[in-house]
Assembly symmetry: C2
Homo-oligomer: 172 residues x 2
DNA sequence: CCAAATTGTTTTAAGCCTAAAATGTTTTCC
DNA sequence: GGAAAACATTTTAGGCTTAAAACAATTTGG
């Protein structure tokens, strides 16, 4: 039985050349679990929004962004914040303007830019939905202690930073 | 300044009746952070799969399920495992059969059931992709220590259980 | 046995989403 | 000043996704 080099503390970078097929099963499992949690909660929230308010999750998310920005946002801002493509936002906004929830106008100072805001109707509806939404989330996380919540926040912040760094490495 | 009741340890259930608009901001922030992490990583993986292998993430995920089931799976199985709708799987499978990655046949014992398997081509391509995929995930989580990974696993397991319980409460 | 309920899949209609190309606008910088 | 680069948005083409209804086959309980 050959001595198994663990590789967890690789001090000599030349050792890398032995090309051990490293085991990343734990990270893979972690990723799958993260994905499962998100999918589960997201599906639950989506269903409740539809049943209670007949609204889709993306629409709710977009309104949530705008609720935090009383002076409006540009489509690019929204796109970055929501981490979705530009074209996606265009369509989403179109439908929400159509339904009277959003107001869209071309910027006075830069005619490339569209500024969108919640209408009075949109803000009212959003606030009602958000209040209930918050209780759903609280219920979904109900079995986590305050300490669990803090610890998860910390670890997810670290995860986010790690992923952003990795993404930047690839696409500098 | 009124004494602020914290409500974190509610021992008397009648106290609930005072209808304090409880503060669930922490849970909300946690949910948003969870969603951000997932979206970030998912987007990164999606992009790499497309660039390196010209394959979509849902196709990859479906093949991953089948790779773990040498004897094949029914569409319902896949649908439950992937946590997506039945109709979604139908279309996904259709395209993967079309491209020669999947084999689909009607069960001998139950003519409602469709059993799908990876073809030799599908399995080969998947294995190649999966090997590289694993290194991407490892890189995305690179800044987490083994202890962080374990702790996240534990907390996410707890989160999953909590969310499932909450979902079951609503839809028993 | 057979009607009713259940289960597995597909279809439908609508909306979401992406990447890439196209369009129009502004900024940069020679 | 004007060409080139950068930017904001829309369009395009294709695929993903859902909920609900429809269809088909099997199981269940009188």
């Amino acid at each position: 039985m050959p001595a198994e080099s663990d590789c967890s503390e690789m001090l000599d970078s030349e050792t890398k050349a032995v090309e051990t097929p490293e085991d990343h099963a734990d990270e893979l499992r972690l990723w799958l679990r993260l994905l499962t949690c998100t999918t589960l909660i997201e599906g639950e929230v989506r269903g409740r929004l539809r049943q209670r308010f007949d609204v889709t999750l993306p629409r709710f998310d977009l309104m949530a962004q705008l609720d935090k920005a009383p002076d409006g946002m540009t489509l690019s801002d929204v796109s970055k914040r929501m981490m979705v493509s530009n074209g996606n936002v265009t369509g989403l906004v179109e439908r929400l303007v159509e339904s009277g929830h959003l107001d869209r106008r071309t910027s006075e100072t830069d005619r490339r830019v569209q500024v969108i805001r919640l209408t009075k109707l949109g803000r009212g509806e959003f606030r009602r939905m958000a209040a209930e939404h918050e209780t759903w989330i609280a219920d979904l996380f109900a079995d986590l202690s305050p300490k669990d919540v803090r610890e998860l926040m910390r670890l997810l912040a670290k995860t986010k930073a790690s992923a952003q760094k990795s993404a930047a490495r690839r696409r500098p």
